[in-house]
């Protein structure tokens, strides 16, 4: 076996093990569920707006380190952004915080980002 290879960026693993903003909002303005049919992962993203600003965000679901880690990271990234700024976020912005395997497994890592785009496209 190789000596201590880094499987995932340690921050991502930390987010997976201690996810931020995990849970449900009682009265969300938007709630979108995205699923990856190849592996069964599922993430629901819920957003509450104050005017055009994202005032509250939570997610729940099940999945791998990348899909759950990304969801946790993403909720932190978008908290307090206005809708236009959130819509401009790209996959590369997210990957910057996640390291290389995220790129290899784009389907996993982009689950919550896709939910975000779908949710806000209805704004």
């Amino acid at each position: 076996m190789k000596d201590k290879p880094e499987i995932y960026n340690q921050d991502v693993v930390h987010h997976y093990q201690n996810p931020h903003n995990k849970g449900k909002l009682s009265d969300p303005d938007f709630s979108v569920t995205e699923e990856n049919p190849k592996c069964g992962d599922r993430v629901t993203l819920q957003i509450k707006l104050d005017g055009a600003e994202i005032s509250e965000v939570k997610f729940h679901g099940h999945g791998c380190v990348l899909s759950i880690g990304a969801a946790s990271i993403l909720t932190q990234m978008i908290q307090g952004l206005n809708v236009r700024e959130a819509l401009e976020l790209t996959f590369d912005d997210l990957v910057e915080n996640m390291g290389n395997p995220a790129k290899m497994r784009k389907d996993c890592a982009s689950l919550s980002l896709n939910a975000l785009k779908k949710a806000l496209s209805g704004w």
Binding site: I7, D41, V65
Partner: protein
């Protein structure tokens, strides 16, 4: 017994890449002799089949038809006319479903199983949807991952047109009782379509023993080239079935209104076939025959059993499907508590270049029945050694140390 050291030398990928390849149920690696056969076609033959009047085309045609004969022999058919070449196993099942659906007398129930691969479910569903002709039903799978034969018997009604069943499940590895199921189906005049994708690579199959009406499999899962599959059909059925695709070489006579189909297999093979791949698949069959299919079977089963035994000793691992014996094929699906299968696959790859499969394995209904979001799968073949299983087990333990411990999500 197989000499794995010698076998390994025949596989260039294993020399060129540092990999413990345990994703054989998806696709197998290619031996030198098959690569040489592909190369030989492009370097020394290069022509089409059946149409040329010249020497070179005759030689290609002869090699091409010899490969068909090898495949017929491999499944125990005495007529190469029963061997139709397709794009893959999936296409074979689509051809059968379409054909039966367009055959006027065929009307009634189609039975498939909850453990079928999507490729033996969706073609039937496409035909059943929006049509009165076919109604689709599923045979139940037990918690242990076996077919519920009582359920099968009760659903096998006199109006059943066809039964679709995997010889071996690509998820739980169950070897299904094909002979018994076929006898029961034939008592009610139902046809049996066996998905042989996971059977043919490492288990002896003889049509005179199992008596299924149709059998499909993929070359790339048994040392052959990609882009090629086989549809075996009983000759009288192939003669009477309407073909789904039209084109060159599949007709004897065409005027502007009427056509007279060619005989099988050409009737189902319109257009120019994958010639190089078919000839090279003959070399794959030769290779398997030289190793001996019962030796292959024994070797692969022993590796799978070793994996099952070692995984069973790990308290945080759940294994799916029958635990041992005759009824298990050469693969094992499982989950590691607290580690998502995708993460496990990534971890095994990073830790020790071990390639396994993770996800739903194109068998979502089965995962639904087993109440699983997904699973990890290791599958074995001729070039895998017992040490590969051991490295796989060690890497699982290491991955659990690094990634485990997260609460259930």
């Amino acid at each position: 017994m197989l000499n794995v050291k010698d076998v390994k030398k025949d596989f260039p990928v294993l020399k060129n890449r540092d990999v413990v390849y345990l994703d054989n149920a998806a696709t197998t690696l290619t031996p030198d002799s098959v690569i040489q056969s592909l190369k030989n076609y492009y370097q020394n033959l290069g022509t089409s089949v059946h149409r040329g009047i010249y020497q070179l085309a005759n030689e290609t045609t002869e090699k091409y038809e010899r490969a068909r004969k090898k495949v017929a022999d491999f499944v125990g058919s005495d007529s190469p006319r029963e061997i139709v070449f397709t794009k893959n196993c999936t296409e074979g099942i689509n051809i059968i479903a379409y054909s039966l659906h367009h055959w006027p007398e065929m009307e009634g129930k189609i039975l498939v199983t909850e453990m079928d691969h999507h490729s033996n479910i969706l073609p039937w569903r496409f035909m059943a949807n929006g049509s009165e002709k076919f109604q689709l039903e599923y045979v139940d799978v037990t918690k242990e991952g076996r077919l519920d034969l009582e359920d099968y018997k009760s659903k096998l009604s006199p109006d059943t047109v066809a039964v679709g069943v995997p010889g071996i499940s690509n998820v739980v590895g169950t070897v299904n009782p094909i002979k018994e199921m076929t006898d029961l189906a034939h008592e009610r005049d139902a046809l049996v379509v066996m998905d042989g994708a996971q059977w043919l690579p490492h288990r002896k199959f003889d049509i005179s023993e199992y008596k299924v009406d149709f059998l499909t499999f993929s070359a790339h899962k048994m040392l052959g080239p990609t882009g090629l599959g086989v549809l075996y059909g009983k000759e009288d059925l192939l003669c009477r079935m309407p073909p789904p695709f039209g084109g060159g070489e599949m007709v004897l006579k065409v005027d502007r209104r009427k056509v007279k189909w060619n005989d099988p297999p050409q009737k189902f093979e319109p257009g120019t076939p994958p010639i190089a791949q078919i000839i090279a698949f003959g070399a794959s069959v030769d290779y398997l025959n030289e190793l001996g299919i019962s030796e292959v079977n024994e070797h692969v089963d022993r590796l799978a059993q070793r994996a099952v035994n070692k995984l069973s000793e790990i308290p945080y691992v759940d294994i799916y499907g029958p635990k041992e014996g005759e009824s298990r094929g050469g693969l094992v699906s499982f989950n590691v508590e607290g580690v998502h299968p995708h993460d496990l696959a990534t971890a095994l790859d990073s830790l020790d270049n071990i390639a396994i499969r993770a996800g739903l394995h194109c068998a979502q209904p089965l995962h639904e029945v087993m109440e699983l979001n997904s699973s990890a799968r290791a599958s074995f073949y001729v070039y895998n050694a017992p040490e590969d299983v051991d490295r796989f087990i060690d890497a699982i333990k290491e991955a659990k140390k690094i990634l485990g411990g997260a609460d259930e999500r």
